[in-house]
């Protein structure tokens, strides 16, 4: 999606994206996931379209979008690096790995490098707790992380 896309164009695309979900029970979450899959985030211009389709106010839809950690209000970096911060990973050196990532990238949690390459995000449990510490590189899970393995991942992402 080009950043120059107008709100009207986004609204039009949004209407097409959500159409298949209209008849379903509790369609809001699948709609929002589909919107984010298409645009990389949930654009402001999509909100009134969803609100209208579900007979909700814009404020209500904004309330849903902002409640969930997964939904973005702006595009992320080209690579999203999620590192698990939960207990099992902490027991196995996750804090060290996270500090290393943060120092190397020069960003902290929820930030994106200036060149738009990498966004660093915390995640709380990926269910890979017997191979901690773990994380995700875009849609790909990685486990048994250490600083060397992380460096290799960051090299590839640049």
């Amino acid at each position: 999606m080009q950043p120059s896309s107008s709100a009207a164009k986004i609204a039009e695309l949004t209407a097409d994206i959500i159409a298949p979900y209209l008849g379903r029970e509790g369609p809001a979450m699948p709609m929002l996931h589909a919107i984010q899959a298409a645009f990389g985030f949930v654009p402001q211009a999509s909100v009134p379209v969803v609100a209208n389709a579900l007979n909700l106010s814009r404020a209500e839809v904004h309330g849903i979008v902002s409640f969930y950690h997964d939904f973005r209000h702006a595009p992320a970096g080209r690579t999203v690096l999620k590192l698990c911060r939960a207990e099992a990973c902490q027991s196995s050196g996750a804090d060290r790995v996270a500090a290393h990532a943060s120092a190397r990238l020069g960003i902290s949690w929820h930030e994106t490098t200036a060149d738009g390459a990498i966004t660093l995000e915390p995640v709380f449990c990926l269910g890979l707790c017997a191979a901690a510490p773990c994380g995700m590189v875009n849609d790909r899970s990685v486990a048994r992380l250490d600083t060397a393995r992380l460096d290799a991942i960051l090299e590839n992402a640049r």
């Binding site: 996931h33 950690h69 207990e87 099992a88 449990c125 269910g127 890979l128």
Partner: protein, 511 residues
């Protein structure tokens, strides 16, 4: 033709199983590569297995780079190699288990319905179809199965309530929002034996009169989403799901719904709100979801492991299941050994084993080789236990008696480098991040808790009384377990590891 097995399980993939499968496909073009589930021995993943005349022989952990060496060692015929472990089922870690829920996991092709049938699948459903709803519910009640999500409520009683409710439409909702750190049994079922969950949900539907099911699956589990969707499609194809389940008069269909990263949606009422498309905020109870659940209609909300236990209870009878376990905790519990542990993974065992056996004998102590200092049982809302309490038996009531909970059966091991004051602070921080905001003790209390712990860590031990007071308020004043149980890790850390809450000067001087 040689059959090779490389797990498709998320943990195996995260440590190189896809690369291994690709390397094997190139090196052994004549072999059939089956992407099985995981056997649950995490330290051996990726575990490569080869079908030989003397059974399946395992090699692990195997990287793609090991393939030429394995070929040279004749692994296709089970040849000797430093990474050869022999027959996996003879490994003590597997041999000591009582695998009921996980009987097929790691053995079959997870998305092959014919494989599922060939390994005892659909026997429970076939029997259920010949019984009435009331008889199925009675069987569940007799089995003694209690909700494996953490609360331990008798599953059969919940089903009976839904069965007796009058409504034109009822639902089966599977809680697959397995957000607790240190737990992954739900994920392993969905990735390694998804038809088991489907079968359990259909039986639940027949029992209570529900024709539609939803699996609320967390977005952090993309491989589980894929495996469940593949299995559901296969089940529809062969009329296991649909208008006539296995040719009977019963209809049942189901759908996966993906969460969006909110931990609190593992709480059943916020899960239902999220499923309805709202903010995942906790509802006040009553009304019970059993009577007014999804869209205000009668709904069974069960954890993955509860539903996955159902087919075997129906197939083998309630008595066989009830014969396992201790006290009021019947059957088996898939225990998850995680964190800083030498032999981590999935260990299914009847209730009654001690915490010490699990951590020290089966888990082999820490991976770092340092002494075990603390274990957290039951996820981020579970208590920390010191080795002095390792005689606690795995049983709902035994853990309650020691101010803990077994929760979803996860055990996270920490070595002696852990700072328990920091872990207590993390518990409050996590609660603050994940609070749905509906009730004040959780929303405000968790933030105040972080501040109080910061002052204690800075040396103001006079604040410990305030912390205890705050925890009391959260425990008794919160609407759900997030605010209500956060005091467990916090206060257990204070109680069992008071030295970590003392002024820090000593520690600094010693370094």
């Amino acid at each position: 033709m040689t059959r090779l097995f490389v797990p498709r399980d998320a943990l195996s993939v995260a440590v190189g199983a896809d690369e291994l499968a690709a390397a094997l496909a190139q090196a052994c073009p004549d072999a059939t590569i089956i992407r099985n589930g995981s056997r649950g021995m995490a330290w051996l993943e990726p575990l490569l297995e080869v079908q030989t005349e003397s059974g399946r022989i395992g090699y692990g952990p195997v990287e793609a780079a090991d393939v030429p060496g394995l070929l040279a060692a004749g692994f296709l015929a089970g040849g000797a190699h430093p990474k050869r472990i022999g027959r996996p089922e003879e490994m003590p870690f597997l041999a000591r288990q009582t695998r009921i829920t996980f009987a097929r996991c790691g053995i079959t092709d997870p998305v092959s319905l014919s494989d599922y049938r060939a390994h005892g699948g659909l026997i429970g459903l076939t029997r259920a179809l010949s019984m009435g709803g009331a008889d199925i519910v009675d069987e569940l009640v007799k089995s003694g199965l209690r909700g494996r999500g953490g609360a331990g409520f008798p599953t059969g009683i919940k089903w009976r309530t839904v069965m007796q409710a009058q409504a034109p439409q009822k639902y089966i909702v599977c809680n697959a929002d397995e957000g607790d750190s240190g737990t992954f049994a739900d994920r392993m079922v969905m990735e390694g034996d998804p038809f088991l969950l489907i079968e359990g949900m259909i039986i639940a539907g027949i029992a209570v009169g529900a024709t539609q099911g939803y699996v609320y699956l967390r977005s952090e589990y993309p491989q589980a989403v894929t495996a469940m969707n593949q299995a559901i499609a296969a089940a529809r194809q062969e009329a296991v799901l649909g208008a006539q389940v296995l040719g009977s008069a019963f209809a049942f269909d189901m759908e996966v719904r993906v969460g969006a990263g909110a931990y609190v949606c593992g709480e059943e009422t916020s899960l239902l709100d999220s499923l309805e498309g709202k903010r995942g905020q906790v509802r006040a109870k009553p009304p019970l979801p059993a009577l007014s659940g999804f869209l205000g209609r009668p709904t069974v909300v069960n954890n993955v492991l509860s539903l996955a236990a159902v087919p075997d209870i129906l197939a083998g009878g309630a008595a066989a299941y009830q014969a396992l376990g201790v006290g009021r905790s019947r059957g088996t519990m898939p225990v998850q050994l995680a964190g800083n542990i030498k032999h981590g993974g999935l260990f299914e065992v009847p209730f009654g084993i001690t915490l010490g056996e699990l951590v020290m004998e089966i888990g082999g102590g820490t991976a770092s080789g340092r002494p075990v200092r603390a274990v957290q049982v039951g996820g981020p809302l579970g208590a920390y236990f010191p080795p002095a309490l390792f005689d606690t038996i795995f049983d709902y009531e035994a853990f309650t008696a020691r101010d803990g909970l077994i929760g979803h059966g996860g055990i996270v091991v920490f070595d002696d480098t852990v700072d328990m004051a920091r872990m207590a602070r993390f518990a409050m921080e996590f609660c603050a991040i994940e609070s749905c905001g509906k009730c004040t003790p959780c929303r405000i209390g968790s933030t105040r808790g972080v501040e109080v712990l910061d002052r204690i860590i800075a040396g103001d031990t006079g604040q410990l009384g305030l912390l205890a007071d705050l925890c009391e308020t959260m425990k008794f004043g919160s609407l759900c377990a997030l605010g209500g149980f956060t005091p467990y890790p916090v206060m257990s850390a204070v109680r069992h590891f008071p030295e970590d809450f003392a002024p820090r000067q000593h520690a600094l001087a010693a370094e």
